[in-house]
Every structure is written in C-alpha cells, then in structure tokens.
C-alpha cells in the first residue's frame, strides 16, 4: 500500500507563487504614470488585444500576464462598476472598492485553486478638483496572490518590474507635461524590451485619464496622436 505523500502548506504556496511569477515574468510590462493633468497608462503591445481598458468615468484598468485571465477580470470590473453606478450614483464608483474586490477575488483563487492566476493588475482613478474628497489621483496594484498596494506618482507591473521601477524612480517628476511623461514611459519600456533597439509608437498601447474631460475621462491615444506627443 502506497503512502499518501505529504506536502507542507508553505511548499504549496511557494510553488504556486513561483509558477505565477514565471508566467507574469514572460510577459511585457505596463506603466501607469501621473502627469500634470491626469494619468497615463502605457504598455508595450504589438497585438490588437488590449491590455488597458476603461472601467468607468474616472477609472482605468491595466493587466499583464495571461491575456484571457486579466481580460476576464477587466470585464468583471466593468460589470461591477456599471452595476454600482446604476444602483447608487456615478460618483459612488470608486477605485479603492474595486481594487479591494479584485484583491479578494485574485487572493481567493490563489488560496483555493490549484492553479493561481498569472496576472497583475492596476486600477487607476483620476482625481477631480471639483469633487471634495476626490481631488487626488489613486493608483492601486494587485498581484497574483491578491496582495494590494497603493502608489503615488507611478507604478510598474509585469516582466522587468524592478528595473523599470528603479528607472522611473530616478526620472519621474511630479506635474510633468504629458509629452515628457510619454517619452519617459517609452524610454522605460524600451529598456525592458531586451534584444530590441527601440519600441516604436505603433508597438505601444497608450490610454489616458484626462482630468479636464467631461464625464468619461478615459481616452485611447491613436498611434498618430502618440507620435505627435512623443515628438512635441
């Protein structure tokens, strides 16, 4: 009779974490940066499948790792936000609550399921000077195990996270104009794209949360617009 083999919970968690980290590490990075009039979210992305999406009026989503998994999370986020805005008011839809729900859901999968989600996501919310208690930008990062953190200025997720974060640490400036921030983001993503000389604008996916816009603040930049900003 064969003995049932024993694996300690620590070992199980470690293995899962390593598995998730590996999956995420294979993918490309995504950067979220504040600029003088909003938040820019950038990712190196050659495909037409988006890594960045609109969740609600002031809230954007970015995911790295396994596409099918983070895209599913994005859709759940849209349903959550639209439902909450319908039940209460548009102003009641806030990034912190959504980020917490993501954290719960992703953490739940990590502990309960055999295979963890190979994703990291960002929930960014742009501030509105007109709304009391809502003036500041908020950036939340949720990792594969459900751990959540909030960030000021910028946040990096995905592959070469540490290297990019240290690059942004030394180059980020508060209240920089959009063009400057986009150039910095491009330079950062370029460093992560090893083996390649450059990341051309057509290989970048860039979305903005623009403070000055009415209603829905989310906007996707076309390659031409991005080119214009990068050369300005």
């Amino acid at each position: 009779m064969s003995m049932p083999f024993y694996v300690s919970p620590e070992q199980v968690m470690q293995d899962k974490a390593e598995y998730a980290r590996k999956g995420i590490g294979r993918g490309k990075s995504s950067i979220t940066v504040e600029y003088d009039s909003g938040i820019a979210v950038m990712a190196e992305n050659q495909s037409s499948l988006s890594k960045i999406g609109e969740i609600y009026d002031r809230i954007a989503f970015a995911g790295v790792g396994k596409f099918s998994e983070f895209d599913q999370l994005r859709k759940i986020g849209v349903r959550y936000a639209d439902m909450k805005g319908y039940q209460y008011s548009r102003d009641d839809v806030r990034a912190r609550a959504l980020a917490n729900s993501y954290s719960q859901a992703i953490g739940d999968v990590f502990t309960r399921e055999l295979k963890p989600l190979e994703v990291e996501v960002i929930v960014a919310e742009v501030g509105d000077p007109e709304l009391s208690g809502h003036e500041d930008n908020e950036i939340y990062r949720i990792q594969f195990d459900g751990s959540i953190s909030d960030h000021r200025g910028f946040c990096v997720i995905g592959g070469s996270e540490e290297e990019l974060a240290s690059y942004l640490q030394s180059n980020f400036q508060q209240n920089a104009p959009l063009g400057e921030v986009l150039r910095m983001g491009q330079a950062a993503l370029q460093r992560a794209a090893d083996g390649q000389g450059s990341v051309p604008p057509e290989n970048l996916e860039v979305c903005l949360l623009e403070k000055a816009r009415n209603g829905r603040k989310f906007r996707r930049l076309s390659t031409d617009e991005l080119r214009g900003h990068l050369s300005s």
């Binding site: 859709k75 759940i76 639209d82 439902m83 319908y86 719960q104 859901a105 739940d108 989600l117």
Partner: protein, 282 residues
Amino acid sequence: MRIPNFASGRQGESSVIGPGTSYDGASFSELLQVDYPHLAFDWSRYAGAEPLSVPHGTTVLAFKYSEGVIVAGDRLATEGLRVASRDIQKVYATDDHSMIAIAGAAGPAIEMARIMRIELEHYEKIEGQALELDGKANKLSQMIRANLPAAMQGLAVVPLFAGYDLRRQHGRMWKFDVTGGRYEEAEFESSGSGSLYARESLKKSHNPGATEREALEMAVQALTDAADEDRGTGGIDMLRGIFPTVIFCSQPGIRQADETDIREVYEEMIARRASDHGGAAS
C-alpha cells in the same frame, strides 16, 4: 479558470464565472435581468391591476438637417389635467453620437433613457468597440418590448431614437411602438400627445438642407404649434425661463442648443407671427 465573480448580484453564494452560472455577455440590461432580478422590475406581477395615474411627458420630435439630425422636446409633464412638472427633461444624449427622446409615462421613460445610456457604454467597454447606430436602435427596441407588461398597465414608453451614423455619414432616426416595433423615418417624426400638430408643422416647414440655425427655427416653431393646440405640451415659458431641450447630432458629436439662441429664435418668431395678420397668429 474559476474567478470569483464579485460583480454578480448573488454575492452570498460562491458564484463563479462560467456558462450558465452568471451573465457573461455585453448587455447591461441582460446583466440586470440575470444577476440582479430584484432591480429589473417585474411588471407582469401586476397584470390585471388598475392602470396607474403617473406623470406623462408629451411632445418630442426629430428631423434631419444639413449636418445630421436634430432632436427636441418640450419640458412639461402632466398628470391628467394637472401640471406634474414644468421642467422635466425628455431628450437625453445616450452617447456621443446618439440620443433618445421620450414621450409617455415619465418614470419608466426616464429610466429607460438611463439604462440605454449605460447599455451603450457597457457594450463599448466590454467589447472594446461601440455598437453601430442600427445596433443601438435594435437594442432599444428590445428594451421597449421588455416593457410591454408595464405598457399594458398604462405605462407605455414610446421614444424616438436618433443619431449620426458614422459609417454611412448621415443622420438617422427611428420611431417605436409599445411592442418594440421600430420604424426608420426618412425626414421627420414626432411622438407624444402633441405629435400630430408638431408633425403637421414640420410637414410644411421641413427642409433637409437647413442650416443649424434654420433647424433650430423649425424645431421651436413645431413645438410652439404643438403647445398651441395640445394642452399636454408645454410652450416656451418666458416667465420662468424654461426652454425646450434641443440637441444637434452631427459628425463631430452631439451639441445642446444654447438657451439664448432658443430665446432669440422664439422672439423673432413671435414678432413675425404678430405682424403677419391671420395665419398662425389667429
């Protein structure tokens, strides 16, 4: 993959995303019915009850002009012979290139306009691409059909839907009946208790090549004619400064007419009618 679906209404259960367990499509109103049935009101439960007396909205109209399509509505809501509200809104932007004008029971109609806006936005976010104008009109017709049990209780919603078709590069409009039947109109259409008079007015004045200003004049004229003959339609209320809602929709998007422009057009029209012995003044 099992991701706990925190967006589902059934939070107490360990609901997960997957076929059959929870809604996974791109329609907001279907999400409402599947996961939040307590919020999607079930009118069929009240079948056979006495028809309700609730505020009704009256005249809305839409017609094409040179740049696209214009939609206008008066501001009065009536409950029987009583004024329920003097300044309700009957014309709503549903997104950057479409709008809905509602006539009928004000409560369900305003709610339908609200859900329609979320519906279009929801689809665009989930799918990463906006619906075509035809798709939007079709979706609205399904929502009106779903409201049929309420319509049988006297809570009919008969909207107009109009927008700029970015693919075909021109303005389009549809009228609906309570069963969700949708009918595209080529030039102009009106809905509500004063619609007969508004339509008669537009029949005489409508010019599809009109400039924005001329279109505004036609709209103000048609609404004034409707208010003149129909007690359920509110005229321009100079005393309280209540003006109709007028929205233009063209290639760059939608734009609401300024109240100062409406006032100017109205005063010119009144002056013209006062000096024009007979005709509309009599």
